[in-house]
C-alpha cells in the first residue's frame, strides 16, 4: 500500500535536522499569511467574535483540542478538507503548508515529514492535491502516510483520477469542495476507521465468523445468480465490518484497500438500509480512471446483511435488483438468512477458549488471503482508551515487523504493561500481547499451541473459497 518511495531512517534523521530551520521560519510565515488573508476572511462574516485576532485564536484553540488532524488542499492552495474546524477559516494554515512544500521544492527536494516535539507532520503531494497529516499520537511516519493515501483514495473513489486531473488542468484555482459535496462524512469516517481498525494496520479484511458449510451455501447462492449476469464484476455480502462472502468475475480480483473503501461507504450510510441504491463508485486500486456502478441493498428487513453488486454497465440496475430479489428469496428458503442472523448475534469466538497462559490478546493474519482475526477485547483492555493504546502498540509492532528492507521473523519486547511478540511464517503473521513478565520460552510455546488451536477454528473464521464466474 505504502508507495515505493525510498525512505530510510537516516533520511528521516537528515530531514528532521533540517526541520529546525523550517520551524524557525514557521512563525514568520504564519504572521505574513494571516495579514494577507485578513482581507479574504473579511469578505465572509465570521462567527460572533468581533475581533479578527480573537477569532484566529479561537480557531486554533479549537484545533488544539484534537491530537490528530488531516488537511487536504489543492496545489494552488485552495482548501478542500479539514477533519476539524471549518476549512474556510484555515486559509492562513493552508498557505503555510503550501509555503513549506514549495520551499523544499525550490531546492529540488520533497518535504515528507516534520517533527517538532511530540508532533509529527506528514506531507503527501499527489498533484493536483496535497494531503497533510498532523499527529500527536506518536504514530510512525509510514502509518500517517498510509492514512493520507487512504483519504486520497477516497477522493479518487468519489471523483475518479481522470476527472480530478481534468478539472485542474484548465482551472488551477478550482474549488474542489463543489464536487466533493456529500462525501465529507465518508472521509471523516474513513479516518476513524484508519485509527481503530486492525484491518487497516494489517492490510486485510475481517470475516464474519460462521460454519463453513453455511458460508459455502451462501456463496453458492450468490454465485448462481451472479454468473448469469453479463458485465457483473464483483459481489460482496457484508455484515457491519465483516465480510460474509465474495464472488468475482474471472480474471479480476478485488484489492483490500478497495474493499475498505466499500466497507466504509456501507457503514457510513444509513439510508442504504431503507432503499436500494445505485451509486457510481471508483475503486482506485482496481481502476482509477472510471466509475463502476454499485447496486447496494440490505437483504431483508429481518436480515441486516448488505449485498453489494458491482458492474461496469450503467444500465444494469433492474437486472441487479431482480438478481438481489432472487438471491434473498433463495437464501430464505435454504435457511441462509437464518444462518447469517445467527452468526451476527452469536458471541464472537473468545481467545480464552484457546486456554493459553498469559496471552491477553492477538491479531492473527493469513498472509496470502489478506484476512485477519481480531478476537474481542477482554480484561484488562476493557475501556476505549486502553484498547486504543493496545492498537498503538500493535501499530508500532507491525510497522517494525514490516519495515522495508528488513526481513524479520520474530520480535519479542517487554514493555511496562505488557510483553509483545510478533511472529511471522510464510503463511501467517501473529501479533500477540502477553502479560508483562512472560518469558521467551513461554511465548514460543504459546505460538505452537495457538497455531494448533487455530487449525481447528480457522474454517469458520476465514473465507477460503472466493469463487469466480
Amino acid at each position: 500500500m505504502i508507495s515505493s518511495e525510498e525512505y530510510s531512517e537516516n533520511m528521516e534523521e537528515a530531514q528532521e535536522t533540517d526541520i529546525s530551520i523550517l520551524v524557525s521560519d514557521v512563525n514568520n510565515i504564519a504572521i505574513e499569511e494571516s495579514e494577507v488573508n485578513k482581507s479574504i476572511s473579511e469578505n465572509k462574516p465570521l462567527p460572533s467574535s468581533s475581533e479578527q485576532s480573537n477569532s484566529y485564536e479561537n480557531l486554533f484553540d479549537q484545533l488544539k483540542g484534537h491530537n490528530k488532524h488531516i488537511f487536504v488542499l489543492s496545489t494552488a492552495g485552495k482548501p478542500i478538507y479539514t477533519r476539524f474546524g471549518n476549512e474556510n477559516q484555515l486559509a492562513s494554515l493552508f498557505g503555510l503548508m503550501l509555503a513549506l512544500m514549495s520551499v523544499t521544492q525550490d531546492s529540488n527536494d520533497t518535504l515528507q515529514s516534520i517533527c517538532c516535539g511530540r508532533t509529527r507532520i506528514v506531507f503527501v503531494n499527489k498533484d493536483p492535491i496535497i494531503l497533510v497529516g498532523v499527529s500527536q499520537r506518536s504514530e510512525p511516519y509510514d502509518q500517517i502516510k498510509k492514512q493520507l493515501i487512504y483519504v486520497y483514495n477516497n477522493i479518487i473513489s468519489t471523483l475518479t483520477l481522470t476527472q480530478l486531473k481534468k478539472i485542474f488542468l484548465n482551472r488551477t484555482n478550482f474549488d474542489l469542495r463543489r464536487l466533493m459535496s456529500g462525501s465529507e462524512r465518508l472521509i471523516d469516517k474513513l479516518i476513524t476507521f484508519t485509527e481503530n481498525d486492525p484491518g487497516f494496520l494489517l492490510d486485510s479484511i475481517s470475516c464474519l465468523q460462521m460454519p463453513s458449510n453455511s458460508r459455502d451455501k451462501i456463496t453458492q447462492t450468490i454465485l448462481t445468480e451472479c454468473s448469469k449476469i453479463k458485465n457483473l464484476v464483483f459481489g460482496l455480502l457484508i455484515a457491519q465490518k465483516h465480510i460474509i462472502s465474495i464472488v468475482r468475475m474471472k480474471k479480476y480480483s478485488l484489492q483490500v484497500s478497495d474493499i475498505h473503501l466499500i466497507l466504509n461507504l456501507i457503514n457510513s450510510t444509513e439510508s442504504f438500509k431503507t432503499a436500494e441504491s445505485w451509486t457510481p463508485i471508483c475503486l482506485p486500486t482496481f481502476d482509477s480512471s472510471g466509475y463502476m456502478h454499485a447496486h447496494i441493498s440490505y437483504l431483508a428487513e429481518d436480515c441486516q446483511a448488505c449485498l453489494v453488486l458491482l458492474t461496469i454497465d450503467h444500465d444494469l440496475f433492474f437486472t441487479l435488483s431482480e438478481a438481489k430479489r432472487k438471491i434473498t428469496e433463495k437464501m430464505r428458503r435454504n435457511d441462509c438468512l437464518q444462518a447469517i442472523n445467527d452468526a451476527i448475534i452469536r458471541q464472537p469466538l473468545s481467545l480464552a477458549r484457546a486456554n493459553i497462559l498469559g496471552l491477553r490478546h492477538l491479531l492473527y493474519k493469513i498472509k496470502n488471503r489478506s484476512q485477519h482475526w481480531c478476537p474481542p477485547f477482554t480484561l484488562p483492555y476493557n475501556t476505549d482508551t486502553l484498547q486504543q493504546n493496545l492498537m498503538s502498540v500493535y501499530c508500532s509492532l507491525i510497522s517494525q515487523m514490516n519495515f522495508p528492507g528488513r526481513n524479520l521473523k520474530v520480535i519479542y519486547q517487554q514493555l511496562t504493561s505488557e510483553t509483545i511478540v510478533a511472529w511471522a511464517t510464510d503463511e501467517v503473521e501473529l501479533y500477540m500481547c502477553f502479560e508483562p513478565m512472560v518469558s521467551k520460552e513461554c511465548a514460543t510455546n504459546a505460538v505452537t499451541k495457538l497455531t494448533q488451536w487455530m487449525k481447528k477454528e480457522e474454517d469458520s473464521l476465514f473465507i477460503f473459497n472466493i469463487p469466480m464466474f
Binding site: 468519489t158 471523483l159 476527472q163 463543489r178 464536487l179 466533493m180 459535496s181 456529500g182 462525501s183 462524512r185 465518508l186 461507504l265 457510513s268 450510510t269 444509513e270 439510508s271 442504504f272 431503507t274 432503499a275 436500494e276 441504491s277 445505485w278 451509486t279 457510481p280 463508485i281 466509475y291 454499485a294 450503467h314 444500465d315 440496475f317 435488483s321
Partner: protein, 204 residues
Amino acid sequence: MKRLTAKLVFMGSQGVGKSSIITRYIKGDYRKECEATIGASFMYAKVTIRDYTITLKVWDTAGQERFRSLVPMYYRNSDAIAVVFDVSDRESFRQVKSWINEVKKNTDTPVVYYVVGNKTDLVDSRIITYEEAKEFATSVDAHYWETSVYSNSGIQDLFTNIGRNLIEMVESSKRPTNIKLEIDPEEGPNNVKINNSNIKCCTN
C-alpha cells in the same frame, strides 16, 4: 381496478429536501439530521386515485455536480420529473432551469414536469415568491407545487397530483408513453395489457 406503473425522478441541488420529501411520503417520518444521498436511491411509492392503483418507481438522485454526466442514466425513460428547489435559496432555484433544460433536450417522450418549491416553513428567510416560481414553471410547461416536509404540508398532494397528471396523460392522449398500464383480468375487457415502452415518439 387499473394498475399503472410509472417512473418518477426527483432532481435538484443537494440539500433542497428531495430525500426528505420522499421519505415523508413513503415512511411518514422527518429527520432534521439526514445524510447527503450518494448516487441515487430507488423506492416504490403507491398512489391510489379513483379506480387506479399507481405504482411509482421513484428515483431519488443526489444532485451532486460530480455525477452530472451520469444523471441521464437516472432520468432516461422517466414519465414524471420533479425538480425541487429550496424557497430560501436562490441558487437552488437557478439550478432548476438548467436541470429542466437538460432533461428536455435529451427526452423525446411526453413527461409530466413538476417544479417543487420546498421548505415553505422558512417564512422569514424565504426569497423565491410563489408568483416568481409559478411564472417560471409555466414558462417551461411545468406544474408548480409547494411543500414543506418540516410542517408536512403539500407532500401527499404532490404525489396525488403527479398521479392524476399521469392518468390524464394515459387516458387522454394517443401519444405513446413509457407508462405501463395493466387492467386486471376480471374487470378489464379482453384482458388488455398495454406496454408501449418500445414505441418511439416521432411527434417531438
